[in-house]
């Protein structure tokens, strides 16, 4: 790890001032990804601005009937919060599908959105990587790419976003609140993360001098018909090959409302509103689920080691939508898929 200066922020305005004053500074909250990347020499901040003590650690109901989650609420506290467990269980389930108990105790809500890809070549400073060193090339396209993207890739980058929590937040249509020198703004979740295009070094549309203060959930929680189904190379504590957040509102056998988002497939949580449109009004059965999956995967493209993920994604979506329609969400403890 390189040497760096340390500043502890005491309020949001001060944190924004600190980050603006030093172009080499980065915020640190939970530290579970940033410290790892600093040990690998991938991140080299000249200063860390510690925001972990800012008063952004509450979960509150909003006037609109939704929930406002402070950016510093630890992942574990959020997953086990009674309001989240009761009204947004898909979010609890997705969080508990990721990382380990220790890391969830440390990692913050805002930091989860900002974690970086686990592409091996992004971590390995001896290899070219356009995300780490723009213009140097992509080692993954012709390399080990089992965990890499099948949707929304570019010539420059085929990395995936690693978060489970964000897949549920995409399905729930969350909103990100951020504060910067120009003031406060809201960012729709779909607009928060970016596709790689020719600027893969940019993961999100958050500016470097902005701080995430909260995540807002709209009232609709899909607490009855949901699942978060994660497929990975080992049963726990591994990043997704494919994950699916499926949430439905049912009227008997008919789908009234649908949400469908995937993890492990793209540079951002991959929500398909076209597939959701196709599901709305359909009878919940394998044919309608398969039709929606085909829409999601239209244009999917595999590489040497991950082409299997296209069919795996299709089958995972069908199973997840079946679990959601039946009201039998995937358990994150007993991994039998029913």
């Amino acid at each position: 790890m390189i040497n760096f200066e340390y500043t502890r922020a005491t309020d949001v305005a001060g944190a924004v001032r600190d980050i603006t004053a030093d172009p080499s500074a980065k915020f640190i909250a939970g530290g579970t990804n940033l410290i790892d990347l600093m040990k690998e020499d991938v991140e080299r901040p000249g200063r860390l601005v510690d925001i972990s003590r800012l008063p952004l650690n509450t979960v509150e109901e909003t006037a609109e009937g939704g929930i406002r989650i402070g950016a510093l609420v630890p992942n574990s506290d959020l997953a086990y919060h009674p309001l989240i467990e009761q009204r947004y269980p898909i979010l609890s389930s997705a969080i508990l599908a990721g990382a380990s108990a220790q890391l969830r105790n440390m990692a913050s809500t805002g930091g989860n959105l900002l974690q970086r890809t686990r592409c091996y070549y992004f971590y390995d400073t001896a290899t070219p990587c356009n995300k780490r060193e723009p213009g140097s090339g992509c080692s993954a396209k012709e390399g080990l790419n089992r965990m890499h993207a099948i949707l929304g890739t570019s010539e420059a980058c085929i990395a995936t976003h690693p978060s489970d929590m964000c897949v549920a937040l995409a399905a729930l249509e969350a909103k990100v609140r951020a504060t910067g020198p120009a003031g406060e703004r809201g960012i729709a979740f779909a607009d928060f993360h970016r596709l790689p295009g020719d600027t893969p070094q940019l993961d999100t549309n958050l500016q470097r001098d902005e701080i995430i203060t909260a995540i807002e959930l709209p009232p609709k929680g899909f607490a009855k018909h949901y699942t978060y189904l994660k497929i990975r190379d080992r049963l726990s504590y591994a990043f997704a090959l494919i994950s699916v957040a499926a949430a439905l509102e049912m009227d008997g056998e008919v789908i009234k409302e649908a949400r469908l988002a995937l993890g492990g497939v793209a540079h951002k949580p991959w929500r398909s509103t076209a597939a959701e449109d196709a599901l709305r009004g359909q009878t919940a059965n394998k044919a309608s689920f398969a039709g929606a999956a085909d829409i999601v995967l239209n244009g999917a493209n595999g590489f040497s080691h991950n082409a299997f993920k296209i069919d795996l994604a299709r089958r995972t979506m069908i199973r997840a939508l079946t679990q959601a329609a039946q009201g039998t969400p995937q358990s994150q403890a007993n991994k039998k898929i029913r």
Partner: protein, 172 residues
């Protein structure tokens, strides 16, 4: 291998050596003041500054759990946090679990159930299990396995570790 022109930021040479910072930690009930550089992890502070080598450095990347300690009662990976960020915190390590000469029920259970072979992961396993029991979310063996998945055991003592935790849960 050194990075060549990675993400934005000044080069190694232009950064002046920062001052050391004074950090107060309450470790196993004892208040201690340390002078540490900002980049000293909690793990290195415990092992190298306080001589508490029970907490192990396994992967140093938050993947193995050997460095697990309790910070204000919550289990964390001490390799993935900076000592300066924990200023004022209560830290419990494996050395702080026994009281008045008696082993903690988890320590006794790990012996009773033969829950280790080489023992390197054991301090982290036991601190993690202490956190697990406080959290009170694990009610079944499946849930113990899932919520202990952040602690690897390369000797493969997992069945006995689960049995030891079940034994201790009955007593605590």
């Amino acid at each position: 291998m050194a990075a060549t022109g990675t993400m934005a930021g000044p080069s190694r040479e232009t950064i002046p050596a920062p001052r050391k910072l004074v950090v107060a930690l309450h470790v196993n009930g004892v208040e201690t003041k340390l002078k540490v550089a900002p980049w000293t992890t909690l793990l290195d502070a415990l092992r190298d500054h306080l001589g508490l080598t029970g907490t192990k450095k396994g992967c140093d990347h938050g993947q193995c759990g050997a460095c697990t300690v309790l910070a204000d009662g919550r289990r964390i990976n001490s390799c993935m946090t900076l000592a300066v960020m924990r200023d004022g915190a209560n830290i419990t390590t494996i050395e702080g679990l026994a009281s008045k000469g008696a082993l903690h029920p988890l320590q006794q259970a790990f012996i009773d159930q033969d829950a280790f072979q080489c023992g390197y992961c054991t301090p982290g396993q036991i601190c993690s299990a202490a956190g697990l029991i406080t959290e009170a979310k694990a009610k079944s063996a499946d849930e113990i396995r899932e919520l202990m998945s952040g602690n690897l055991c390369r000797c493969g003592a997992y069945p006995n570790i689960v049995a030891a935790i079940e034994q201790a849960m009955e007593q605590l």
